[in-house]
Symmetry: D2
Subunit: 330 residues, 4 copies
């Protein structure tokens, strides 16, 4: 039994809290949110205690693990404090929006050898996980090309966008991590962005569509296409190609129904709408994996460095979009 506290009870924090409350090897001891009502509602729904302050949680010796799902600007500070308080940490992505701060913080905590995991939930999706395993088993031969499709069903509020660090650090960061998950470290990035969805996003200084090319250190190539809008749901697909063929991971639907009529045939349901629906099994598997790591002291599948590298790729993409040039990474 691993005792948890959840910091941040917004949409994602609450979902994690509910998952922890049902988990056979976890116990949710505390929840906290700066908005007291949010913390109270999650405490009610899960039977956890509502902590009065973060320090109470960090001081509670019985709390072994902290799940950080608060606003992005608080992630890194909470992560460091939790590690320094001797806790294992599962932190939502991104760790932070400032690579220099990410690196400086690492210097502070690296010697503690703590269990620090970053919430790259897609690594735990059964299809993407199987995709990676089958690539590694050599099913398509050495990877040559990867094509990642990633579209959100609709844009978030402009207020969210303003604090998000921009599309590359907020949304593409998952795809950068997926590229690294499948292909390893990257040698070069080129990115193109566009404003196609909502003028308010442009006014807020961000883009709402992008196409990115990555070159891996292995020599393999990767393309990512992003949009903040997708009429048919949350479009999350990957194709991985090598000399022996291609593996495709497709979208997911609530039923297996298809309709055959006068105007169309094999018409299926729209795909699952967004991350909570689509990645439910992934979020559960993510918690499972983190509990394993805490119990057994093993390294998480998505560690601090993975969070750092994805941010570095996002920064490079931003630079490439601004200059038009391919950005080489050491």
């Amino acid at each position: 039994m691993v005792k948890f506290a959840v910091l941040g009870c917004g949409r994602i924090g609450r979902m994690h809290a509910l998952n922890l409350a049902r988990h056979p090897r976890a116990e949710l001891a505390y929840v906290y949110d700066v908005v007291g009502d949010a913390a109270a509602a999650t405490a009610d729904a899960t039977g956890a205690r509502r902590a009065g302050a973060i320090d109470d949680i960090l001081a509670a010796a019985e709390v072994e693990a902290v799940l950080i799902a608060s606003s992005t600007d608080t992630h890194l500070d909470l992560l460091v404090r939790a590690v320094e308080a001797g806790k294992a940490v599962l932190c939502e992505k991104p760790i932070d929006l400032d690579l220099a701060k990410v690196d400086a913080s690492w210097e502070r905590i690296r010697d503690r050898d703590a269990t620090v995991m970053v919430g790259f939930n897609r690594r735990f999706d059964p299809s993407f996980k199987a995709l990676r395993e089958r690539i590694q088993a050599g099913e398509v031969g050495p990877l040559e090309q990867v094509v990642i499709t990633s579209r959100d069903p609709g844009p978030p509020p402009v207020a969210y966008i303003k604090a998000s660090g921009g599309l590359f650090r907020d949304m593409t960061i998952h795809d950068f991590d997926m590229a690294r998950y499948l292909m390893g470290d990257m040698a070069a990035v080129h990115a193109t962005g566009a404003n196609l969805v909502d003028p308010a996003i442009e006014e807020a200084g961000d883009i709402d569509a992008a196409m990115v090319t990555l070159v891996a250190k292995s020599g393999a190539l990767c393309q990512i296409s992003n949009s903040r809008r997708c009429a048919y749901g949350y479009d999350q697909r990957v194709e991985a190609f090598g000399a022996k063929g291609m593996l495709q991971a497709g979208n997911q639907r609530p039923t297996t129904l298809s309709f055959w009529g006068a105007a169309a045939t094999e018409a299926k349901d729209p795909v699952l709408n967004f991350f909570v629906e689509r990645y439910t099994p992934a979020y559960n598997a993510e918690i499972d994996h983190f509990v394993d790591c805490v119990e057994q002291g093993t390294a998480p599948l998505a560690g601090y460095r993975d969070g750092r590298e994805a941010l570095r790729l996002a920064d490079a993409a931003l630079e490439s979009m601004r200059t038009g040039a391919t950005v080489r990474l050491d």
Copy 2:
């Protein structure tokens, strides 16, 4: 909170017990099995108490609902006793193998107006449920033809088959219920059986493959194909056809991966292997629905009469197979 007891802790009973233990509106108070070790294991896994005798459960006033998952020959007796003890009952299919007994028992309990539900789990499968709703919404027009494909991954042990009442009462009974779920009551049955899978099944006096034609009272036609063996998993599909088109419900797989190689393209995983894997969401929704019925006093979607009618169709199929003639139902 509905307090439950589970009678029978074999594969299905244990699965139900675990589902009840996790259910937010149910509480699993007791489990019972004639095999003490089975009961003890399920009690351990769920935190329920192991009852020393069925009568203890029936006498326990706080137990509102009984889930019967014991061997088929005990179903009907337990069902009647539980109803007479004032419990709501969720009974695994088939209620019994003897239609006359089923009808006689009904006479004993009909006036009690108890909540009695039969475990036709497929009615709660999200895809089949949506299929029915879309048929009823008129999406294909009045139903004209239904084709049901139902193949088990492999045959059960011969000992099971000997006690099963035969393929029609044990396996096709689900498909008879699916036909009634989608099309209403039946007017005629024709069945053909064959021994294609395992000679031991023939020696045990049963068939292992069948093709059945049903005529509904509405005039619509239905075909069922069954096999006790299926190389690619648990083959569970339905096509429903009317003037405006067709709705198909397909098989389900663990991932969305497909492989494209030199020998084949779009090759997907084998389908989910058997009822526990395939119908996990259905079993959960079934319990949900039953708890709703108990709490609100509403009629279950699969009642005693549905259990009786499916058995009647199985008996008619057996007669048709023996005589070669179409059996008309009043």
Copy 3:
């Protein structure tokens, strides 16, 4: 170069005439139709000569092969006369509607050892042909079950239906032949018919939907479902099942496009509308095969006996539908 005459210039005859005119190893010398204008139009379109009378064609020594596409009631007489005139014959299905006449005619021509082929075009469809080859190569193991789906896009005129011999002899006859093509000879037939599409068909004494069960001499089972109406086009599918798995042959569409939108995803075109569109490659391959048989003196893949057996199954289905009983074939 094989010199042909085409008898009958209706929709099918004209299509065959055009195919022959373009065929590199065939030459279309004559066309004939009792309706002079039909013959003239086809002669114009193909460059063939319009014969004044059938006897002129039968007397023309240079004509090696006759393609019979006239009305069904003339098929058998023309077939016998053509064989007796020393011609090779490719006759549209059905040979005739009267099994006794079919057998009597056979007695007249059997010793002539002529090339007589029946136009079971589906045997030459690339997908059904590959299906059969892969079955015979053992890909699914010995055949255990076959499911044939066969729906026309819409019913023919009632006048056509009145002369057609009924759904089993006119439409299902193709599916009976497909069953024999894949499974060999049949041991038993059960059929159920219904009137679901157009009351005028019932008034004309015919059915417009059917479900048929066949038992092959091998012990394998087969189901056929038919309808005279299908909203999404010409529904022509086959599933063949054995211990090692299943082979499916699906429908065909004019493009590979699929649409993903807010209401549906992977929505494809309606399937090709009817036999001329769907079986274009099959009709070409059929002529190819017939020319091969004439040139090399080899036996056609669909011979007189195949035409006879399909008719026998249709007759048995009709009897079964009338009596409700399974009809055993010797």
Copy 4:
């Protein structure tokens, strides 16, 4: 009837010659190849006359149209001479490898108002054609993103590659044209190339895999992925995405069969192997369209400017690959 001469009787020239010989509104008068045997073989197969010299063809008043399928280095010279001789021209892609020469030649012939068409066969593929029509009909709303997948089954001989102008001008040129066909003119190009398939290609100074990003003048984005190797056949797919959804054009297979077995389900045939197999209907429709243009004096769907623009994109891609920078087009 349009009278044709075919210049160049290699693989593509011979295919065109055979298509012309069967075309109802075309007549193939002459064929020519510098290799006499190739010309003779095509003349034999089509019934055309073998010209002794190109000048004989250009001087033949009855020849209205010339199809140029000779080696790339001869295309532009032959095109200009044919136009100056008053012929309509259908020229295989690319027009030439030197944009300056392409522009200079245009100055020579632009005032003649001749029918000049470039053989971008994919514009005539039924699926891509329908894709464009449905985009233009507004089915997905204004285009926002296009993803083009284009992989050859295997690399051509190194000798071919050395004369090809490189992957962008030889292979991607089709994809550049597809992008323009669907999205209109382009504003910017970024390209990345790699050597992943065969070291001999690198030694020959070319790449064998590429990923390209295009920005259209409309603001829409496009990605192209290319490989000279594809285990499962000729991979030719397009996705077009807008606010209302996505249209996908998929690969094509010889049959509709799928296999369901213990290791995989829905396994389909490899896709059609290469351009002759995949684009057979497109090549036929291309000739049809060109004959229409010649007969009616209308502008071809793929004109000289389209050939020029695709080459310009290829040149820009090459520059981008060398510099790493995005190349802006005026």
